[in-house]
């Protein structure tokens, strides 16, 4: 299925900090009461790369995203996002940084009292951008996720997959430098999941946006590792044999609060670790 037409191929999102990583976790730990969720994890997300985050339910995938966004504070360790140390920033300073980072929540987290266009335009309206400009960009973002017809609808009138796509439109409207996806395809049918995977691949390959994606669905991540977005045909195409995993895509597996794997698709496929082999089988 061809992907929706690109709204404006403005490579602003591709502007990267030449030094450092998009996201860096350094010995980060967090516990809820007696339950240690993350126990000194460290990893880096290079600019322009998409990293799929795996782990069983409760392994801390969503927590990693919330920590990166500064929505939670770790008990120990340091987190850097776009070169800034999130763990040392005040909430007010974080509001500024968050304008450069987009997030798609597990259950979409659309504002149910607002219409679709108000949800997508939320950040633009906060920045007091003119109404004409807001409307143009909202329509572009909705066209990007193939949901322009929902402009005047309320989130309660949308299906789960549509809400997820509106959440993506809301996250990308300001062309963020980093995107965080929390189970973007969780609970969706294969066709809708594929549409969302294609949108994420397009964001990775066309806009060069760095992304961290928490997911249960290994097949989605493998699709992303074996496909690239073809601007000419405006759709996701499979990479030729031998070039699989030649896209900026990596995998990270969490287990018992630790990182047990951090590498590319090829390394994952050839891992000898029993747990990993069982996980990917």
């Amino acid at each position: 299925m061809p992907a929706p037409t690109l709204p404006s191929e403005n490579p602003a999102a591709a502007v990267v900090n030449p030094s450092g990583y998009a996201i860096e976790f350094d010995n980060v730990s967090i516990a809820f009461d007696e339950n240690v969720v993350l126990d000194g994890i460290s990893f880096q997300l290079p600019h322009g790369e998409t990293k799929a985050l795996f782990g069983v339910a409760g392994s801390g995938k969503s927590t990693v995203l919330k920590l990166a966004m500064g929505l939670m504070r770790p008990d120990g360790g340091r987190i850097f996002v776009l070169g800034e140390e999130v763990t040392r920033m005040s909430e007010q300073e974080l509001f500024e940084l968050r304008r450069r980072v987009g997030i798609v929540f597990q259950e979409s987290a659309l504002f149910d009292s607002l219409k679709v266009y108000e949800n997508v335009a939320f950040r633009l309206m906060e920045e007091r951008i003119s109404a004409e400009e807001v409307e143009r960009r909202v329509r572009e973002a909705l066209r990007f996720v193939e949901l322009e017809q929902t402009y005047d609808m309320r989130p309660s009138e949308l299906s789960g997959g549509m809400r997820r796509r509106v959440a993506i439109a809301r996250a990308i409207i300001t062309e963020p430098e980093v995107l965080l996806y929390d189970s973007p395809t969780g609970g969706l049918d294969p066709v809708t999941s594929n549409t969302i995977v294609e949108l994420i691949v397009k964001q990775r390959d066309v806009y060069k946006t760095s992304a961290l994606m928490a997911t249960h669905r290994l097949q989605d991540a493998f699709t992303m590792a074996t496909h690239q977005f073809d601007k000419a045909t405006n759709q996701m195409v499979v990479l030729p044999k031998g070039q699989h995993c030649d896209v900026p895509m990596s995998f990270l597996i969490l287990r018992d609060g630790k990182v047990i794997f951090d590498g590319d698709g090829h390394q994952l496929a050839t891992s000898h670790d029993d747990y990993i082999r069982e996980y990917i089988s």
């Binding site: 929505l71 974080l94 500024e96 980072v101 997030i103 987290a109 950040r123 007091r128």
Partner: protein, 264 residues
Amino acid sequence: MAFELELISPIEVAKDVALAVQEYTLLSAQSLANFFRRPLYMGDMLHQSDLIGVGSLPIVILTGLSVGALLALNSASTLQRFGGITLIGQLVSIGMVTELGPLITGLMVAGRNASGMASELGSMIVTEQIDAMRALGTDPTKKLITPRVGATVFMLFFLTIIADLLGLIGGYAVAHLLFGLNSQQYWTSVWQILVFRDVLTGLIKPVLFGFIISTIGCYYGISTRGGTQGVGRSTTQAVVAASVLILIVDFFVTKLIFAIFGYR
């Protein structure tokens, strides 16, 4: 079905209470400080004023009229026994303006709006909408809490004035229709008995009550935990806490005013 009794240490309970008081104080202080920081969400404040003020008007009209009429009715029989029926206007006036007007309006608005705020914000917490707002670079205390505090304080002030006036009208209806009191006699006694202290008391209280209702409602909403069940719990707790706090503050404000201005 077997029940397991979990014993909680009194020290843990004390710590939890102290933490809750600290969080509530910080939230209240922040909601006030936000009035001096940009952006000020005037549109949201107007929207909340409509919901809180205009929305509460029917219940305030009804309770104001009823309380004034009941006050007149209950006191009339005693006053009549001592031949003091002409004092009914004074009694209704003092009662409504200094005490019952602000108190009843505060309790009514607490029941209606503290619960509304707690459930609305609580639902936003459990559906991650508050996190989404923070992630979109917007401070929820500025966008959600400060407009509610401003709107409640502002609207409760005027709702109380309306309740006072309707209470006096209710009292007049009873005094005139049931006890045949002359209109001029009633309204003159209503007017003449009131002094600066009474009016001040009656106007300070709604400001404090409005602050209590909104901050308690928002605090319980924003600290909701435990899904939809948690939302229900927060809603109930918000109404109870706001009502109790209003009664306590009412007592101390009245005592303070007496201490400053002296007894009648």
